[in-house]
Symmetry: C2
Subunit: 388 residues, 2 copies
DNA sequence: ATGGTTTATTAACCGTGTCAAGTAACCGAG
DNA sequence: CTCGGTTACTTGACACGGTTAATAAACCAT
């Protein structure tokens, strides 16, 4: 990164709680008047004025956008706004077969995308692929890295964010991989390692439906089934690094064996591979996921049955999650949500059947996530480290 | 309450975050040296000295207990200790058939107990019973209420603590009962209404196994099955007042109908009434819980089967809880835990079978709770409102 | 006694945010 | 156009709450 970026980051790091909160408020709700910041943060107007000044001086925030002309009496608000291009981040999502990277601005708007296929899963090969994607994303920034603030990497599994270590990833077949150490000297900015679902949760909390809500969950449906939890405004990390393992709730039949070896896991019925396997078996041949969706749409009995069972199980799992943690909102995400019409009725039906009392006032929204969105999550994890 | 108590409470209320934290630290770890308080709270020694002074002046804390003679070099520590008798609380647990009340000191040590049977469950009758128990517990304190700081009431169900309203209690058949309003002018101190399991969680967090642990759960097994959750140091209340409903996770067979009307709830298999009902049916006559336990100990097939199924279901439910929230500790409590030998193997077996990855490093401890302990929980809820 | 060591207290100081007052920028009415 | 009404923002004094650094206190070992 260059000196300008370094100065901005240093400023953000030096902020104490209140000014930092002012910054994130401006970041997530930009443009916004000072008085609204004051109301949202609970700080005095004076404190907001004082907190905003250095941010403007550093070029992170702009003032004096044209002021309102709304006919109301009184001095018009003069909103301040974030300068999205004040810093740049790179977000990387590591999939089983591919590394996807995005370059984003401060608001996780995607500026560029690059991908690299993965053939091997050993840490060195993956690190090489990540470095290659990074290199291509960094190139336009110039030799010094320009305004690059950090590189975030999202990996599924048990991730120790503070240490930058992937403790365990069944997906990748990794145990105790010090990803940050391996990557740090191959990219031009600080590296942040984060669990993929948690990263997605951070994005939704800062820039998505989760904005302003401090108890919510995001459930991702796809190759795996996972959940990220926010409770009382904080990410639930799990004391031992594991939490939100909704895919391994034992809600399915005991005779369904999960890839993890346990019996009756939700994933053993409702993850994409499980659905495809069930339909394939019924038809006596290998069916692709695209074909499986088509069959279900065409009313094929086996396919309908498989999707129904999956939807019911997921709905039950979400009810369990809601009964235990009582969130305000559940966001349904992940790749498979684009076929939500296949889940819709049965999922919500099972959810409503099992959710308890007023916990059922929890809202459920659908948000299909592309792989790019996962990478954006990794970028959001970087931004989160800047201001919190 | 008298003037002395009022002054002490006013002092505690006036404390800002840091001194308040000092007080709770002394309260929960008394006796303790100032330097240990400093280490535990992260405050400077100077701040601790300053914070302790007014507490000593108010008689909430004592100084100058005989100092150590341990042969170590250096000035010996002169620990400060809480003065348990500086304030008195009353804690009430409302059961279906009985109201149990305790008078306690600041550390929830029980000073006296009184009970009153409940014949009717309508709010007025229950309030009358509570008032009667309170009156008897308050009597020795003198006409002005003496050092009484508050009256806590623990009720099962959906409780809005801030409003003092029981929003819903299936147990009592209540909906939107403004218990605090009904009770406030019949007792001589502020009334705190709390969910019973949450109250128990508060006790364990302040004075029990949960001390110093900020992500833990307490699962109570008995007439109902519930859970209280602490995540990241805070009680999980549920945005809509419902959380920890582990008894209504749909982990049992769909043909088991729960008292709540849903299918497959854990309670429909594992709560005491469900166990008794299963055994009664098998034997073609009404069996009491005492007899059910006896039958199981004697190796009766139906009884063994019922307890095994209950234990397995509860173990699975706990695994689900742990997989989702990743706590450090699960406390098994409630009345039925006294028969834990009947649950033991199957419960832990099912738990270990379904818990995921390193979440399984979560410890599980048994703590049988008497009804008096539940009432102590209500007292702890009062103390919690004093210093937090 | 004397120095070493650890705990507790004291005093100076400083960062952070509030309060209260003042200033700015608009409206609409006379 | 001016002038009061209204709302948004700024400024400076101040108070609070904590830290750091120096000092005192209370013990041990030599």
């Amino acid at each position: 990164m260059n000196d300008e970026a370094a100065a901005r980051i240093a400023l953000l790091r030096s902020l104490s709680a209140a000014p930092s909160y002012v910054f994130t408020t401006v970041l997530t709700r930009s443009p916004i008047s000072r008085i609204d910041v004051s109301r949202l943060t609970g700080l005095s107007q004076a404190a907001v004025t004082k907190a905003v000044a250095p941010l403007v001086a550093a070029g992170l925030v702009v003032d004096n956008l044209g002021s309102r002309r709304d006919g109301l009496p009184g001095r018009p608000v003069s909103p301040v706004a974030i300068v999205p291009e004040a810093l740049v981040t790179i977000g990387i999502k590591v999939n089983v077969d591919e590394v996807i990277g995005v370059r984003t601005d401060l608001t996780t708007q995607v500026l560029a995308t690059h991908r690299a296929p993965l053939t091997d899963h050993d840490p060195d090969s993956v690190v090489a692929a990540i470095a290659q994607v990074c290199a291509r994303l960094e190139a336009p920034l110039g030799p010094d890295g320009g305004l690059l603030a950090g590189v975030g990497v999202a990996v599924s599994g048990d991730v120790d964010t503070a240490a930058g270590v992937v403790r365990e990833s069944a997906n990748m077949g990794w145990t105790a991989v010090d990803l940050r150490a391996l990557l740090q000297d191959r990219v031009g900015a600080p590296v942040v390692i984060e669990n993929d679902v948690r990263a997605l949760t951070i994005t939704e909390h800062m820039f998505g439906v989760g904005l302003g809500i401090d108890s919510f969950a995001i459930v991702t449906i796809g190759r795996g089934i996972g959940a990220g939890l926010h409770v009382n405004g904080e990410v639930v990390e799990g004391v031992h690094g594991v939490a939100g393992e909704i895919g391994h709730l034992p809600l399915a039949d005991r005779d369904r064996i999960c890839a993890c070896g346990r019996r009756g896991c939700v994933e053993a019925v409702a993850a994409t591979p499980a659905i495809v396997a069930a339909i394939s078996e019924a038809h006596g041949r290998e069916v692709s996921i695209t074909e499986a969706v088509q069959l279900a749409h065409d009313g094929d009995a086996a396919a309908t049955q498989a999707f129904t069972e999956a939807a019911t199980t997921i709905g039950t799992a979400i009810a369990s999650l809601v009964n235990l943690t009582g969130p305000d909102l559940v966001i349904l995400g992940g790749e498979a949500v684009s076929n939500f019409d296949l889940f819709d009725q049965n999922l919500l039906g099972a959810y409503r059947e099992h959710v308890f009392g007023s916990a059922g006032r929890c809202r459920i929204v659908i948000r299909p996530h592309t792989f790019e969105d996962w990478a954006r999550g990794a970028a959001a994890a970087v931004i989160r480290t800047l201001a919190r």
